[in-house]
Symmetry: C2
Subunit: 583 residues, 2 copies
C-alpha cells in the first residue's frame, strides 16, 4: 500500500498515529538542523519534518530531494509548534522515519505554483505539469462537478443520456465539417458532428421524450482567441413542450448548478428581454446586465445643430459613465484610440462632461451650447460628475461599437465583478437573417426553428420581420446556451425551406433522412444546447475557456504538447485511397 | 401545455380527474359502438375510450386515427370495467372529450411491437422507429442507468471525470487509426483515439490521482459481427496503487452496477484465476464459469494404443457433457460438422458414451478397449449416462477448438442462463507475445505494462515467461474490461522497449512526449478500461451489442440510416489539400 492517507487529510485528531503518505515534493527548506518538506498531492499539502537528532542519514537524504520528486514517507503525526492557518493540514506535521524515492524529476520548466512564471505556450507544451498547479486543478475540478451535477439534475427530471454517433455524414452546408476518410469504403468520408442536432430530433421522433448528452462537437474553422476545434456541449431536447416548458426546465438546471457548484443562489425568475430590446438597449444579443449604462437614442437632441457627423448619422447613441467627469484629456484620448482600433472600428468618440458645478464640457462645444448639453443630460439621465459618451453611424454598426465601449468602460470602472452572476433570457430572435452576399435569407438559428404562431402570416409578406421561438441564455456578457422550438408540421417546414431558397431536390439531399423520419409521426419538440467550456469558465469567473479544458489546442488548432496534427505515412494514405495535393 | 400526465402515470387514485395526455397511437379497436385507442409514450400506455353516445363526431374522428399518429387528448379518468393486469395503468381509462391530431404518420415499415416483423437491415435503416419499440427502449434505458451509476460510484470514491481530446496524433503503430485531415494545416492529419491511454497516463503525471471518463474510442478495422468502428469505454486510471487496489475498486464498481441497475447481488469476492489456469482449464482467457465442463488433459490415457492421431498430438483434451450419453448418431454427426466449420477449424471430434449400464461406446472403439475407456472416465470424472468429447492437436489450437465446443455445448444444454452472472478476474497475463511473422516479441497488453517484480530477472533470460501485472474481468464468457499496472521506472521502461525491438529513435518518435513527461516525476500508477457497449449488453443478458447502441453501424461500418460514409465535394477535398486516388 502506497499510502494510508492523502496529503490533504491529516488533522489534530490524527496526532500520535503512524501514517504513510505519497506525493510530490513541493519544496524543501532547512531550519536549525531540521529539514522540512512540503509534500503535495491532489488533495492538499502536508508538512514533513526530518531531524538530524533523530536520523542524520535520513535528513541528508531529505535535503537532496529535488522539486517534484515523487516520494513515499512513513512517520508519526505530531502537532506543529508554529501552525499554518492557511492550509487545512496546517496544525500537524509528520516526523518521518522512512523515506522512499519513488521517482526523481527533472526541474520543471516553470514553477508549480498558483502564480507561475510560465508563459502560455510553455504551459501548453507541458500541460501535464501545468495541471499540477492548484489554479488549474481547481478549474478541472469545477468542470468535473458541473458535469456530474448537470447529469444528476437532468436525470432527476427524466432525461435520458443517449450517445449519438461521432462518425456521421458531411452535408453540403457543412463547409466547416472535419471529415474522416474510410479505409473500408475507399473514396468515402464520414464527418465529425458540429452538433448532434439531427440525431436529437430523430430521438424525439423515436419517442425518447427527454434526451440529453454531454457531447464533443467539432468545427474546422479559423480559430478566434476563444474557440477550439473541438468543444463540449450539454445538448438537450424535449417532446410535447412549448417554449415556456424548456425555459423553466433549464432555468432550473442553471440554478441547480450554481447552487451545488458555486453556492450561489438566484432569487426569483431569470429576467427576460426580447432580442429587439437587447439590441436597442445594449447593442448585443448577450448583454452584460451586471451594470447599467443602457444606450440612449439621442437623435432628438443632436440633430440640426450644424454637426454634420451627427446630422448624417442614422443613429446617435449615448451612454453615461457615472462619476467620470474627472477623466483627464489623456484618458479620453486613450478611449478614443481604443474605439478606433480595427476590432471596434469606430471613426471617433464624442464626450460631454457634466461637471460638479453644473457646467458642461464636451468635445463638440463648437456645435452644442450649454443648454443643448443640458438636454443631453436630461435625456441620458446624466448627473453632475458624470461623463457622457456619444457615438453615431448606421444603426447596426453604432450599436455594436457602443456595446464594445460599454463593456470596456464596465471593465475600467470595475463594474464586471466575476463573482457576480446575472443571467438573462434573450427571446424572440428573428427567424431569418438577410444574407447580402448570397442575396437570400438564411436561418438565424437553424432551418428547423419554428416561427412564432402570430408571425406566420408575415412569412409570405415580410419574412424579415418574423420572430422565431428561439431563445438564448446570456450571462455576464457571454452566451451560455441557446435553442428553439422546432417545426414539426410538414407544410410549414416546406414553406420555410422554400423561403431559405432550397429547391425540393436540395432540401431532400440535405435533410432527406430527417424529413423522411418526420413522415412517421413527429411530436412537437424543442431543445437547447449549452457550451460546457464557456459555462464552466463563466462559473469560474473567467473569460478564457482554455484553462478549463484539460488538453486544449492553440489558436492554430494545434496541440503543441503532442504535436498534432502531423503528417502521416504514405502507406497509410495509400490504404485510404488518398493523395496529398497541397494548394 | 401539451399534457398534464404521461401515458404511464395514471392510477385508480386519479379517477374523476380531468387530464391531458399526448403520445402515439399504438392501436385502435372498435367494440359495441365504442372506440378504444392505446396511447403510447416513453413512460407507458394508457387506454382512451370514445363513445358514440357521448359524441358521435369525436368517435368518428378516433376511428380514422392511423397507427403512430401523434395526438393530444383531454378527458376524464374513469375506472375500467375490464381491467388489464399487465400494464400499470390497466385499471383506468380516459373518456375523451377533445382530440387533437398533432401529426399524422405513414404506416411504419415494420410493426412497433416487442416482437417485430422487421429484419435487421430494415430496423437499422429506420432506427428511429425501432427505438419506439419497448424492447429497444429498455436497452437504452439500461445503458443510461449504467452510465450514470458508473459516474456516481466513481465520483463517490474521488475519481475525476476529465475529458481528453478526440483530435490527437497518429502513431506509426496506429495502423488502425481513423485520421482527420486538417484544413488549417494542409497535408497534416489528426487521428481519432483508439483509447485515451497516453492521456490518462499523462493525467497521472499531472497528479490527478484518480481519473475516469466514459469516452468514445475509434478503430478502423475489418469489422467482425460484434465490433463497431466507434465504441464506448469506461476508462480509468489511479496513482499510488498496486494491483490489489485496482481490483478492489472496480470489483466494487461492478457490484454497485449490478445491484443498482439489475438488482443482482454478488456474494463475497469475485473469484480469480491465472491466465495459465484459464487456458488450461477452459482454453480461453475469458472463461464462462456459469458451468463446469473443465478440460482434462488426456495424454496419459490416450497415447500408445495405436491411434495415430492421438499419438501424434501434442495435447489430447477431453470434456464431459453430463447426461448426454443418449445423444443420437445424427446429433453427434452434427457436432462433428460444427467443430469442422472454418470458424472452429477442428479436423474431427472423438466421443465416448458412458452408458447407463456401465458399458462404453466410442467413435474409436477400434483402438480403445472398455478398460481404456473406463480409464478415460476415471480421469475426466464422467459418470454413467455422460458423454465424453475428445479433441487433439497442438496445444493452443486444440484448446481454442475445445473452448468453442464447450461453449456450444453450454448453449445446447441450456447451461448459459443470461440472467445468471459469473464474474472472474483473470490475472497474471504474459507480458510478451512472440510474433512469428515479425520474429520479435510484442506487448500483449501495452508497452507500458509492468512485469511482475518476481519475474523481472527473466526479462533477460526467458522473456516469454515473464508475467505482467495485467488483469481482465471476464463474465459469462465475455471480456468486460482489462488493464494493468504501468511501468513508472525509466530504466525498466528502456529495457522493455528494447525487448520489443524499438531503437531509441523509434521509441522517441512513438512515445516521446509520454517518456518526456515521465522525466518530471511520474507516480506509480495503473488502470483499467471497460467496454460499455459490451458491459451493458452482458448486463441485459444479450450477446449482441448492437441493440444497446442508439445508432449503430452495420458490419461494413456503414450507417444505413443516414447513408454514411459518403463521397464529399471536390471543393471540400481541395480545401483539405487532398485527392482521391482509389487503389
Amino acid at each position: 500500500m502506497y499510502r494510508t492517507h492523502t496529503c490533504g487529510e491529516l488533522r489534530l485528531s490524527d496526532v500520535g498515529n503512524q501514517v504513510t503518505l505519497s506525493g510530490w515534493v513541493q519544496r524543501t527548506r532547512e531550519m536549525g538542523g531540521m529539514t522540512f518538506v512540503d509534500l503535495r498531492d491532489r488533495y492538499g499539502i502536508t508538512q514533513l519534518a526530518f531531524s538530524t537528532e533523530d536520523n542524520e542519514e535520513l535528513n541528508q537524504k531529505a535535503r537532496k530531494l529535488g522539486r517534484e520528486f515523487v516520494i513515499q514517507v512513513k512517520g508519526k503525526v505530531i502537532e506543529r509548534s508554529s501552525k499554518n492557518n492557511i492550509i487545512p493540514t496546517g496544525e500537524v506535521e509528520i516526523i518521518v522515519s522512512e523515506l522512499n524515492i519513488l521517482n526523481s524529476a527533472k526541474t520543471p520548466p516553470f514553477t508549480i505554483e498558483n502564480e507561475t512564471d510560465g508563459g502560455d505556450e510553455l504551459r501548453m507544451k507541458y500541460r501535464y505539469l501545468d495541471i499540477r498547479r492548484k489554479a488549474i486543478l481547481d478549474k478541472l475540478r469545477l468542470r468535473n462537478k458541473v458535469s456530474l451535477e448537470t447529469r444528476k439534475y437532468l436525470d432527476g427530471v427524466d432525461f435520458m443520456d443517449i450517445e449519438t454517433p461521432y462518425l456521421i455524414k458531411s452535408t453540403p452546408e457543412g463547409a466547416r465539417d472535419f471529415v474522416v476518410p474510410s479505409r473500408m469504403n475507399q473514396g468515402e468520408f464520414y464527418a465529425l458532428p458540429q452538433s448532434p442536432q439531427t440525431f436529437k430530433q430523430l430521438l424525439m421522433v423515436s419517442g425518447i421524450d427527454k434526451y440529453y448528452q454531454i457531447v464533443r462537437c467539432f468545427r474546422d474553422e479559423d480559430l478566434r482567441a476563444d474557440r477550439q476545434p473541438e468543444f463540449t456541449q450539454i445538448d438537450c431536447e424535449m417532446s410535447f413542450v412549448e417554449q415556456e416548458d424548456i425555459l423553466n426546465t433549464f432555468e432550473g438546471m442553471i440554478k441547480h448548478l450554481f447552487k451545488s457548484c458555486r453556492d450561489v443562489e438566484f432569487k426569483g425568475d431569470f429576467p427576460r428581454m426580447t432580442y429587439a430590446d437587447a439590441m436597442e438597449m445594449y447593442g448585443s444579443d448577450k448583454p452584460d446586465i451586471r451594470f447599467g449604462m443602457e444606450f440612449k437614442d439621442m437623435n432628438s437632441v443632436t440633430k440640426d445643430k450644424g454637426f454634420k457627423i451627427f446630422d448624417d448619422a442614422e443613429l446617435v447613441l449615448g451612454i453615461v459613465a457615472e462619476d467620470c467627469a474627472i477623466y483627464t484629456r489623456k484618458q479620453l484620448d486613450a478611449l478614443t484610440k481604443w474605439v478606433q482600433r480595427p476590432q471596434v472600428g469606430a471613426k471617433g468618440l464624442v464626450y460631454a462632461k457634466y461637471n460638479d458645478d453644473g457646467t458642461f464640457k464636451s468635445s463638440v462645444d463648437k456645435f452644442y451650447s450649454q443648454e443643448d448639453l443640458q438636454e443631453w443630460a436630461d435625456l441620458t439621465g446624466a448627473k453632475p460628475g458624470d461623463l457622457m459618451f456619444i457615438m453615431s453611424g448606421d444603426t447596426d454598426k453604432v450599436r455594436s461599437q457602443m456595446s464594445d465601449l460599454r463593456l470596456h468602460m464596465g471593465d475600467e470602472l470595475g463594474l464586471r465583478n466575476p463573482n457576480v452572476f446575472k443571467p438573462l433570457w434573450v427571446m424572440d430572435f428573428p427567424l431569418l437573417e438577410w444574407d447580402e452576399e448570397a442575396n437570400r435569407f438564411h436561418a438565424m438559428h437553424h432551418p428547423f426553428t419554428s416561427p412564432k404562431a402570430e408571425d406566420i402570416a408575415l412569412l409570405e409578406t415580410d419574412p424579415g420581420k418574423v420572430r422565431a421561438n428561439a431563445y438564448d441564455l446570456a450571462m455576464n456578457g457571454v452566451e451560455l446556451g441557446g435553442g428553439s422550438i422546432r417545426i414539426h408540421d410538414k407544410t410549414l417546414q416546406a414553406t420555410m425551406l422554400k423561403l431559405l431558397g432550397f429547391t425540393e431536390e436540395e432540401a431532400n439531399k440535405q435533410f432527406g433522412f430527417l424529413m423522411d423520419a418526420f413522415e412517421f409521426g413527429a411530436p412537437p419538440h424543442g431543445g437547447i444546447a449549452f457550451g460546457l467550456d464557456r459555462l464552466v469558465a463563466t462559473m469560474g469567473g473567467s473569460d478564457s475557456i482554455r484553462d478549463y479544458i484539460a488538453f486544449p489546442k492553440n489558436n492554430s488548432g494545434r496541440d503543441v504538447m503532442i504535436d498534432a496534427p502531423a503528417t502521416i505515412d504514405n502507406e497509410q494514405l495509400k490504404e485510404l485511397g488518398l493523395l496529398v495535393n497541397l494548394q
